[in-house]
Amino acid sequence: MHGRPRKPLKPEDAAASAAKAEKLRVLQSQFLHNHHNHIYSKEAVELSTKLLETNPELYTAWNYRKLAVQHKLTENDSDPDSLKSILDEELRVVESALRQNFKSYGAWHHRKWILSKGHSSIDNELRLLDKFQKADSRNFHAWNYRRFVAASMNRSEEDELKYTEDMICNNFSNYSAWHNRSLLLSNLLKRKVEGFVSKEKVLPDEYEFVHQAIFTDPDDQSGWFYHLWLLDQTVRVDSPQLVSSWPTPGSDLILLGDRCLDGCASSPFTRFHLDSRTFPLVLYFNQAVEGVNSSTITVDSELNTNKDLVWKPLSSCNSKAAQVWVTQLNLPDGNTHSSKVFPVEDSSPISSLYQLSIKNDNELTDFEWRAATIAKEIDHFRELLSLINCKIGKLTLARLLMAHDAMMCPPANKISHSEEVLELYNDLMRLDPTHVQYYKDQHSLVLLQQVTSNWESLLSRCFHYSNSPSNRGSPMCLQLKNLSLSRLGSFDKLLWVQMLDLSHNELRSIEGLEALQLLSCLNLSNNILGSFTALEPIRQLKSLRALNISYNEIGAHSIDTTKYLCSSPLSHSVGSEWNHGQTVIDDDIKSYWEAYFILKGLNLTQFDIVGNAIVNEKFKSFLIKVLPGLKWLDGEQLH
């Protein structure tokens, strides 16, 4: 059913289909009459049969049949024979409807529904499926149904795995078969079925298998999809891990008060410019976790006088799970004017679900085969690319190299492939203009990873503000401007940042920026941010004082596409937070409700917004109302 060109309708065909439509219309109106009057007589049901066998797409008719079956079942409650014949008849109707159109959702669903009533031999279903899958081996309805049948008859997953193998051997361009294989293997690995206990044993064979497909025909997508899944299985660590935190465990923290002293500041990354009575502790995990609280996280600190730290997840959609957790540590009074070294230590943080254990032996061997596998894959694809020019091959190589770097990073920061990867993405942008935005995003992520990979490169991008009263005491500004960044990443390496310059990039969104809890100055000027909703992460940055979003495209687009791009649509949060703490909704708020929503909780003293389409006098006056602490707006001092 795939790869067949569609032919235009011949005039006689068109006439035939018009006649068919006319006949259907008659049938349909009769049927609807029956349906509305709850007529479940034999003739009425037969009418619906006739209708469905010509047009299986009629959902209403399927539902009518469900009602009819239920009606009949209540009538013949006691008799198992008649029960069976009723259900068998339904199965027959579905089958002939599927022959008409085997991609009919309604028909497949009706079949499932009948089976749920029992009284059918499930073996028959497999036989039927074999027929349908022979007719079209990539019919995803049949595959879905197959999973359902296999589950309900407790067919072993190993058998189903063998089946996918057979299907793939017949024709390896069968994405459905590969997909089912990944589902089955995931389950088998999760349940640790015999023979599927460790990924180390299972995955190499799968790599070998998928290589045959990819190398035989690199133009076929199915194999590549499966390879991507395998790569994910190889790289992914099952238990959540604490990737980084601020302050780093065991570090000495130098707190600088308002009147900065040039103490014995050793590293800029542990120096924190304090202007309030509290400072944050941030935990950054490799995946969203739940249940971080004072009983699962122990904080050892001289400051930690108050035992009941309240950990808050930094998520935009009020979920209980988040990658970033933050708490505020209160400073003891009277210490703010002098710098002091406070040793802070987070020890063995435990989430509610998993033990966040330090690397043990098991994980070390695990690491070895993972790294070896990735290295082997890299060699294979380098060889392939030496023969042919293949876009997805390049993309895969780039992903593999990044996975390799990420894996090698903790123990030995030896050779980084980021230059090669950047080159690959540059190539891809040229070769594949349709997906240029994706490649650009990936390019940005790699670039950020490269910049943040070591202290030297980070330091080279750190500057003191020239107008700062003291060069030594004030926090440094990390400059990531003019890098053509379209997406942000590597936040785990940037938790220490207090001043960040992201100007002159191509940012449309600043997703993930909420992790930088220490941020007090943020420059996003000269990007392509399209609306206030794109700034949503800023709501979580409680220490932000200065924000520059000048020369973006806020207000330039009548339709706010960020709503669809961002993983956390703003509308969710709006609904839940709109009502509380609300004083007056005046006209300004109504017209600028997005800006209001983003800015209202912030305590900005300095704000630049010039060069956006939204800016006018009315908006400015609105801003002054919303941000009462504002001292500077677009470089002008306010009274």
């Binding site: 017949n170 045959q212 190398f215 035989t216 025909d217 042919i388």
Partner: protein
């Protein structure tokens, strides 16, 4: 279980066919009863018709009677064979429906059939049947020999409304394309390889038949259908299949797919031939890069073929490349040595060593052969779900093919007479042109045209004494003594590959010995094709050669290579000492026949001579030649025009039956 059932069904069908076959032969005998001798042979003629004499020189009685032209037969045993032969393995044949076309006298039919059905067929008791008279005595076309080319011609001529008499001196259909029992094959080869004064140049020579298990084989006298012109398979998209579908002959045939192709690699191991996308995917011996290269090459070929020649495109292979040797082109495509020989010898089926020989395949032809292979795979997949590969083989042997065309001809009114030798040609005394034939029965039959099987030749020397004939028979002079094909048949007890029974094996040039310049192709068939008892296997092999010694060397090398493969193949199976003893007691190789066949192309004069079986795996070249002969014969007729196709074979591709 299911398999057994289908085999039973096949046996049943077979039995039904056998009983109708009995009826058919009976019909001919019944006709014989009413025969009247119309002419008596002169004393001289009788002399010339002594056993083993195939030549008859008939003096010209008067100016008005047709001249008798001497006919030299490459088959010395032109005397009527013993009727017992008619029950040899290869004899079968009409549906009752078709019999109606043939059956004129039904009186003796039942009695005869009854007698025969009771199994009273002992050789000595049956008298040599008298010859039936043939009516009418004039036809548009007489065809002698029932090989595939002759059968196609008679079927086509009958289909286009010509009256055709189809004769065969043999008691079975198929001539040199038949499938025979061991005894019949032995007899056939021996009788066609004995040189004599009248037949100095028989079609076969150097026949070596060895029987290592006569007792075992004699238990299965009827269970073998050995192809005389093996190894032969059909490419699913080839000309033969098209013709069968067009003519309706496909209704009488059932096919099975050949499961795989293997090639002898440098380590004398059989490696599989990755001939399709799925096969490349599954292949375990190719490296990932080799897979990629091979698949890209296939795609290049496909891309080339899918584009119009007029189109200027990068995808098309350049004219310069098309005219270059295929081997060079493959090298240019950076294919490894192993893949190169796979493509050359196992897919494009090149006959000669492409590195050194003068018979170099051009890229253009190589690509066309790949195209045939590729479309065969596509067609097979289209027709039969889950059938892999490109090749098919008819159940009951290749001899079914000529029979199917003969049946088609019979349905269209062609008259068949087997066991009827022709002793001389009749020519017009004045013009010297062909008039008719004189049968062994003495009856003269006239026709406008004559088609002869390659066993027969009209000697040029004799023709030259007749001034008028010289010109018309120049075309018949034996100009084709150039090539030979060495053929071998083995019956074994074990398969070369433990898990497969029907497959092709290629020994590419120089894989067996350094002087091997031609590729040897081996076809193994198992009991499920009804060519041998279940549990046994028939192996056919052939190679082109220039002369007999070279051919014998090829055959012996191939035979010993096969035996070596058989030993290594079975070594894994017999682990215990006991079974080793058993193996010793029962040799793996049960029977073998090695023989060398002359090659000749078809000839056209006022008499058509059809080509001998060629050295190819399929019938493409043969049928192309046959089609040309037919066009010469009837320039205005199309070979099986589409319009004549009856509604029954309008289903096109579905008309081909494949048993799974």
């Amino acid at each position: 279980m299911q398999r057994n059932n289908s085999r039973d069904a096949a046996h049943r069908r077979r039995w039904q066919r056998c009983s109708t076959a009995v009826a058919a032969t009976t019909e001919m005998r019944g006709a014989a009863v009413v025969m009247q001798k119309t002419e008596t042979l002169t004393k001289k003629e009788e002399h010339l018709l002594l056993p083993n004499a195939a030549i008859a020189i008939v003096p010209l009685p008067d100016a008005t009677a047709p001249a008798h032209l001497p006919l030299l037969c490459r088959q010395p045993s032109a005397q009527p064979p013993h009727p017992a032969h008619s029950f040899g393995g290869g004899f079968r044949f009409y549906h009752l429906k078709e019999l109606c076309h043939l059956l004129r006298s039904t009186n003796s039919f039942e009695a005869e059939a009854g007698r025969l059905m009771t199994g009273n067929e002992s050789e000595s008791e049956l008298p040599v049947p008298p010859y039936p008279p043939i009516e009418p005595t004039a036809f548009d076309l007489i065809v002698i020999g029932t090989g595939l080319p002759e059968s196609v011609i008679s079927a086509a001529a009958s289909a286009s409304g010509k009256s055709v008499l189809h004769l065969d001196p043999n008691p079975f259909y198929g001539s040199h394309f038949s499938s025979l029992s061991i005894a019949d094959l032995t007899h056939f080869l021996n009788s066609h390889s004995t040189p004599s004064s009248v037949c100095p140049d028989p079609l076969y020579s150097d026949v070596e038949i060895s029987n290592y298990a006569s007792r075992l084989l004699s238990q299965h006298p009827r269970n073998f259908n050995l192809d005389v012109s093996g190894p032969r398979v059909l490419f699913c998209a080839d000309h033969a299949v098209d013709l069968m579908l067009k003519s309706g002959a496909s209704h009488y045939l059932e096919f099975k797919s050949i499961d795989a192709t293997f090639m002898l690699d440098a380590d004398a191991k059989l490696c599989s031939v990755p001939d399709s996308r799925a096969a490349i995917f599954k292949d375990k011996s190719l490296g990932l890069m080799e897979k990629n290269q091979l698949m890209r090459f296939f795609k290049l070929v496909q891309g080339h073929l899918s584009l119009d020649e007029s189109e200027e495109n990068d995808v098309r292979i350049s004219e310069e490349d098309l005219d270059s040797p295929f081997a060079d082109f493959l090298t240019k495509m950076k294919l490894s040595h192993k893949i190169k020989s796979i493509v050359l010898y196992a897919i494009a089926m090149a006959d000669y060593d492409q590195e050194v020989s003068e018979y170099v395949l051009k890229t253009r032809d190589g690509i066309n052969r790949l195209a045939l292979y590729n479309s065969s795979i596509g067609r097979l997949v289209l027709m039969f779900q889950n059938a892999l590969g490109a090749l098919i083989y008819p159940i009951y042997g290749q001899g079914e093919l000529p029979q199917a065309f003969c049946r088609r001809a019979a349905v269209k009114g062609c008259l068949y007479v087997l066991r009827m030798p022709v002793i001389s040609l009749l020519t017009d005394q004045n013009s010297g042109s062909y008039k008719g034939v004189r049968l062994a029965s003495g009856q003269d039959i006239l026709s406008h045209k004559l088609v002869l099987d390659p066993s027969f030749t009209v000697p040029g020397s004799l023709a030259s004494s007749h001034q008028q004939l010289q010109e018309s028979f120049q075309a018949f002079s034996l100009s084709d003594n150039k090539g030979k094909v060495a053929r071998g048949i083995c019956i074994t007890r074990s398969s070369l590959k433990p898990d497969l029974s029907n497959f092709l094996v290629i020994f590419p040039p120089r894989s067996l010995f350094p002087e091997q310049v031609t590729s040897i192709r081996v076809l193994q068939l198992g009991g499920n094709l009804a060519v041998c008892p279940v549990g046994m296997f028939v192996l056919y092999f052939s190679a082109l050669c220039d002369e007999v010694n070279q051919g014998k060397k090829l055959l012996h090398a191939a035979l010993s290579a096969l035996q070596k493969l058989l030993v290594t193949g079975t070594a894994g199976n017999s682990s215990t000492a006991q079974s080793e003893d058993m193996e010793e007691a029962k040799p793996t190789l049960l029977w073998s026949a090695l023989y060398i066949q002359d090659l000749s192309l078809g000839q056209f004069g006022s008499i058509i001579s059809t080509p001998t079986p060629d050295g190819n795996l399929n019938y493409n070249d043969l049928l192309d030649a046959t089609e040309k002969l037919y066009w010469k014969l009837y320039p205005k007729e199309e070979l099986f025009p589409e319009t004549t196709s009856s509604p029954e074979n309008s289903e096109d591709d579905a008309g081909l039956t494949l048993e799974s």
